[in-house]
């Protein structure tokens, strides 16, 4: 009869942590930060279709690093949970904290119960009425949750990137400044001998949760709009991504009833209309 070697629970957890940490550190990084107009997600991603950043709900976005199949599974789960809660209660009752807690439970259970932990680190971001009301939650492979005020970096050499981001980031910065700060942070590592390098615009996945909108606030920034932001030409604002028509506008009264507005309305340039909070 084969004898099973004894491994202490401590050792097992350490091994699992190490596996997950290594897996996450091998990948490319992502940063999430608040700026004056919303929350910005920037991820280094060679694919334009396999997203690391996506929409979960009206004011909630998701960013992840690590293994695609694992975080994609978590993303779908998050969309399902948010849509179920939004339908059962009201669209306003879906919040980022509940989602971060659910992710923490799921990841924690996988970490302790399954032989291989998920090699992922995720960020659940919820945009508020002002930069100080934004909430960013970091959920790691073992199910721990951290509230990260203002900014966070994950994956790859996350600590070095965080350091640069901390110096560059101010909550009142414009979108263009925020994109350039994120770009500077992401490209500060990974060059020859640990030096800075350049990242092409088409290797970045950029999206925002726009706090001025009502309804669905998530939008991707791609193509010419992204290049303009990186060059600092489109100061302050971002044009809608090409290929998608301008967001439909709706009367505010209708837009303030989240249950009946499936589309999102843009209140820019509509001074008397304040977005719902």
């Amino acid at each position: 009869m084969a004898m099973q070697f004894y491994a202490s629970p401590e050792q097992i957890m350490r091994d699992r942590s190490e596996l997950a940490r290594k897996g996450i550190a091998r990948g490319r990084s992502a940063v999430v930060l608040s700026y004056a107009g919303g929350v910005l997600f920037v991820a280094e991603n060679l694919s334009s279709t396999l997203h690391k950043v996506s929409e979960i709900y009206d004011r909630i976005g998701f960013a992840a690093v690590g293994r695609y199949n694992e975080f994609e599974n978590l993303r779908r789960a998050g969309v399902r949970m948010a849509d179920l809660n939004g339908l059962s209660y009201d669209r306003r009752d879906v919040n980022g904290l509940a989602l971060a807690n659910a992710y923490a439970q799921t990841l924690g259970a996988i970490f302790t119960e399954q032989s291989k932990p998920f090699e992922v680190e995720i960020c659940v971001a919820e945009v508020g009425a002002a930069p100080e009301d934004d909430s960013l939650y970091r959920v790691t492979y073992d199910g721990s949750v951290n509230d990260e005020p203002g900014r966070m970096a994950m994956g790859g050499q996350a600590e070095a990137i965080s350091g640069v981001l901390k110096n560059e980031h101010r909550p009142e910065m414009s979108l263009s400044e925020a994109v350039r700060a994120a770009m500077k942070a992401l490209s500060s590592v990974g060059g020859e001998g640990g030096a800075a390098r350049t990242i092409a615009a088409n290797q970045l996945e950029v999206a925002v949760l726009d706090r001025r909108r009502v309804g669905r606030t998530f939008r991707r920034v791609t193509g010419a709009a992204l290049t303009a932001l990186l060059d600092g030409e489109a100061e302050g604002d971002v044009a809608p991504a090409p290929g998608r028509a301008k967001t439909p506008t709706m009367p505010t009264e209708e837009a303030k009833k989240p249950t009946t507005s499936a589309g999102s309305a843009d209140l820019e340039g509509n001074a008397e209309d304040k977005p719902t909070e």
């Binding site: 969309v79 399902r80 439909p248 506008t249 709706m250 499936a262």
Partner: protein
């Protein structure tokens, strides 16, 4: 339950984890239940050059009573399509909300919008799911219209789909109406509709048709000038869905009413 690879459809997900939230899955006691809940009435849709217009009156009835004067029966289904409901109001509103979530859910999960035909088929299967309740008098019939982003000719991109209690969808050419006043609204549209109408003309025509429906059907409400309750008019064009403001619908409704002061038949 949330993390199964599963489906991109929200209703399919609900049928596994919370079947009681699907209108068709609830057991009903035997017997007719037709007169126990408010009924929503007339909706019209007209395809125009470069889009589609949908309008609904504001009345809900319960037997011979007016249950609600300002119910809203026309809603955006997503950024490019509209849905109007007639029949049992409670189930209709629930179905409409579920349909909105269904479309948004697919878009978020898959990262792409469903085709207009895909949306219509989805709605058809949701209506079919309510067949049991429909046979006991709690029928809901939607009208679905939208701007087809895949259409080769933008002038023909506004498309209308109708349904029956067993599902559908049936694509309609030009215009369609549902609900108790639909007979009169369709008769009015038959005489007035011309292919290639502008979206602006089509909104006016929709309000006229609703006026004709209200003229002959007690369950359809006309423009209520004293309470300032006017039809809900929405458009779906390449720019997305848009709901006409109260001021805009008021202007159209008042001009229709003043036209009828001179010629009651329109």
């Amino acid at each position: 339950m949330f993390t199964n690879a599963g489906t991109s459809s929200f209703t399919a997900f609900l049928s596994k984890v919370a079947p009681e939230m699907l209108p068709g899955r609830r057991p009903l006691p035997p017997g007719m239940a037709a007169d126990m809940a408010p009924h929503a009435t007339t909706i019209v849709a007209i395809s125009a050059a470069g889009g589609v217009v949908m309008a609904g009156d504001r009345r809900a009835t319960m037997g011979n009573l007016i249950a609600q004067r300002d119910i809203e029966k026309v809603h955006p289904a997503d950024a490019y399509s509209l849905v109007g409901i007639a029949g049992t109001a409670g189930i209709g509103i629930e179905l409409m909300r579920l349909f909105q979530v269904e479309l948004e859910h697919y878009e978020k999960i898959e990262g792409a919008m469903l085709s207009l035909d895909g949306k219509a088929n989805r709605l058809a299967s949701m209506i079919r799911g309510n067949l049991g309740a429909a046979m006991q008098g709690l029928a809901v019939i939607p009208l679905f219209a939208g701007f087809d982003l895949a259409a080769s000719d933008p002038a023909r991109a506004g498309r209308i789909f109708s349904f029956d209690v067993t599902g559908g969808p049936y694509e309609e050419t030009g215009y369609d109406a549902i609900g108790s006043g639909s007979l009169f609204a369709k008769s009015a549209l038959k005489k007035r509709f011309r292919a290639g109408l502008s979206v602006g003309d089509a909104t006016r025509l929709a309000v006229e048709a609703l006026y004709d429906a209200a003229d002959d059907d007690t369950a359809t409400g006309g423009p209520d000038l004293t309470r300032r309750i006017y039809p809900v008019v929405m458009t779906a064009t390449a720019e997305g869905t848009h709901r006409l403001t109260d001021a805009e619908t008021a202007a159209i409704a008042e001009s229709v009413v003043s036209g009828r002061m001179e010629n009651p038949g329109g």
